[in-house]
Symmetry: C2
Amino acid sequence: MHWARWGDPTEASALSAATLGLVGAAFGPAEPCGTTQLADVRVPVPRVQEPLLSELRDLLGDEHVLTDHAARVRHTRGKSTTDLLKMRAGDGCDAPDAVVEPADHDQVSAVLEWCSRQRVALVPFGGGTSVVDGLTARRDDYAGVLALDLCRLNSLVHVDVVSGTATLEAGLLGPEAEALLSRHGLTLGHFPQSFEYASIGGFAATRSSGQASAGYGRFDDLVVAVKVATPIGTLALGSAPASAAGPDLRQLVIGSEGAFGVITSVTVRVRKQPEVKVYEAWGFSTFRAGAEVLRQLAQSGTTPTVLRLSDEAETAVDLSQPDLVRGGPAGGCVLMTGYEGGGREVRATRDRSTALLTELGGAPLGEAPGSAWAAGRFQAPYLRDSLLDAGVLVETLETATSWSNLMTLYDAVRSALTAALGDQSPAILLCHVSHVYPTGASLYFTVATKQRENPVQQWATVKAQACDAIAAAGATITHHHGVGRVHRPWLEAEIGPVGVEILRAVKQRLDPAGVLNPGVLVP
Amino acid sequence: MHWARWGDPTEASALSAATLGLVGAAFGPAEPCGTTQLADVRVPVPRVQEPLLSELRDLLGDEHVLTDHAARVRHTRGKSTTDLLKMRAGDGCDAPDAVVEPADHDQVSAVLEWCSRQRVALVPFGGGTSVVDGLTARRDDYAGVLALDLCRLNSLVHVDVVSGTATLEAGLLGPEAEALLSRHGLTLGHFPQSFEYASIGGFAATRSSGQASAGYGRFDDLVVAVKVATPIGTLALGSAPASAAGPDLRQLVIGSEGAFGVITSVTVRVRKQPEVKVYEAWGFSTFRAGAEVLRQLAQSGTTPTVLRLSDEAETAVDLSQPDLVRGGPAGGCVLMTGYEGGGREVRATRDRSTALLTELGGAPLGEAPGSAWAAGRFQAPYLRDSLLDAGVLVETLETATSWSNLMTLYDAVRSALTAALGDQSPAILLCHVSHVYPTGASLYFTVATKQRENPVQQWATVKAQACDAIAAAGATITHHHGVGRVHRPWLEAEIGPVGVEILRAVKQRLDPAGVLNPGVLVP
């Protein structure tokens, strides 16, 4: 992963003429923005020095305690637009003092014990794809900050073909996990947009949700068991597919964002690799009409594996695929549907979904737009880099609510964004429904505008007003990005002061020295 | 609910000739056991006296603070066989000092605040159907013990037809909730064996699972939002169908068994009332073969609404339906399947399930045994009373594990029970799979033997050895009964010392005076 851009920049393609045209029409001529060189990124003087570094080397081996400039820069932040803007500007103020690479659960435990004793803050680092500032520790008076990179915990520990489960170490990235599972003819089926660089541990720690969640379930649905290293010992949970043995503590670990412990392995539900994958598109007259169809599908008990409904604006102007000819109704909306599974199963589900979609007024647009979406599904973050290069500020935010509140929420967030962007027009404001449930759905907004003098502050202002609107509408502050530091100011509005006390009590009990990812999640 | 028997004894029918024959053949002639009269039950001298009672009356009104003998006796225990044996023997040592009946959430909060201040222990009481000793508080040096009966929290607060959710107050019993929902054409679909007397709050507090969980989901799956009164304030959770806003604290409330707070209302997913209900039976050669079929059904993505597979012994001797002619294969096993839903949906699911069941060697036994099962599904607890009357000791226990471990667990628990019952033979030992999931299933055992001199101690010994075997097999100590006081000694084996620390930390933060259901759940 590039230190200041998404993924492998050689995989990125230049902005197409169509996109450049779009951007030019909206924001005027591109204003290329430069990027600092890695060597010029300013990082703080490390607090963790000898003899502490020697102690760490004794624990992990010399080659697994990295203090070089490049390693520190690469572990400085996640991949939000704000993170990228700061890195591009050479701001490495959040760089860890050192990066440690434990080999296994026991070494993770040893590092935690050491950090607690030395009062050194520790940031668990999986794929480094956080977009909510989940990877920068509060420094305060800590004796230093380490990034704990889980890259060496990269085994498929066990496959239980009969039960349909697999135990994966936390540091495995999405494609690595899928490659290991594919040798057994299996798949996890978890494909968030960050899939190519995000880790198994990160999926669990941030309560991730994939693009195929309608079919495979959210990551929290897939977790059967977890193993966590905490400063006070190991927590291993999950002895049955379901249990009444008190509260489900797995659901306290999932979403804990490194604040309670370090997830070292996860046992997940897996399935046979799909024999068939089909993606197609449907046109609807309005976003509201399309959302109503999603609701009926979600409540029917028969849903496609993938459902993604773009609003009118996103249908007209998809920044990630401006060349795509959808052929949808003018002024209308496009719904992507995807079916994955065994041949007979896909046929049955597709037949029933098609009947319902047709009955509810959908216009079939064929497989071409669906296949194009599927082919480009992991490309959007690359496009963001190119837009940032061209002086555009582009970022996303997401939420979820009940079906009855969905359009109210949509209007409220759009109004807040429009008001916040008011003096920054012209701006592009897009939205889609990416995840559906029987009782509600998520909304995912994309905002693009021209970068101003201080684009980090520019976005912070817009984002805060959107978050206020989400909280006021009674929706969740995040459906799948996590809390990190970005959403933390709004968490109390969602879980209340008593909920905050629960998080604090657990944090204090498991991490009495307060060294785990300080400043993240817990208000 | 009768104070020493299940439900309304006028609903119970006498033991059939067939059952009496069975019991006689197994254990010799019936030895009728007498029951103490309610008036003769020995209850302790109440610690909560004036002026404390006056303070409670000021909070709740005179008629909602009950101190009469009958009210105290009726709130003494739950409905395990041990509970019934103690009540029959006139042992009311666990009776609360008084029973309070708050009208609403705010009055519950007021009682909690008062109990914390006075250091009076408080036992939340819904339907009183606990079978794990979840309703008897540790007395220690508390200033007394109150039962907090939620019977007045019995409203359907809100129905959201669009989102398919309903907010139900915690004191509603199963049939009351269904009656209120049926006015809107809706159903919760949650039908545990205790359905007729258990409460909505109890379903949530104990992580209940219904007989139709394969179709409707466990109660924890159905919960969208919860409202809880705790000694430090109100906890209201659930702002979206799914969220990444940190740990899912709802899953800490579900299964909290009154130890963290009092659940006052629950928002649940509801569905249209089924147009069609069909139950039928299938024969399989062995329990193992039947379990393999359940696994394939559960992993196929198409399951009936109800699945219940009896082992060879239960198929031959179902104590609850000894007259039932199953017509299954001699020495084989019977699987009950049930389909509920819209006509088209039931037809589709039934067709696909039937194809799979046939392909996997099932012999169709028709609808008669299925309908008989459905008609008698809530009768088993009445039968238990009749068997206890006849000198038989009968009790159940349950667990769950992964598919790959299911038969190992089955053998281990049977061996442990057989060894424990060794010198008490003859005994009847039955088992069925009642709940299935893609990754595993539950096992539900019924044990019947002749009552000895001290049947309470007799069962405690047998139960402990079964629990040891379950823990040793790595399965959950309870799939749907809860922890209470009965399973508490085995909880640490399941969630580990760090898991126990989490429960203690949350308990201490939410209930600093330690007045909520002391002795229950938290080791």
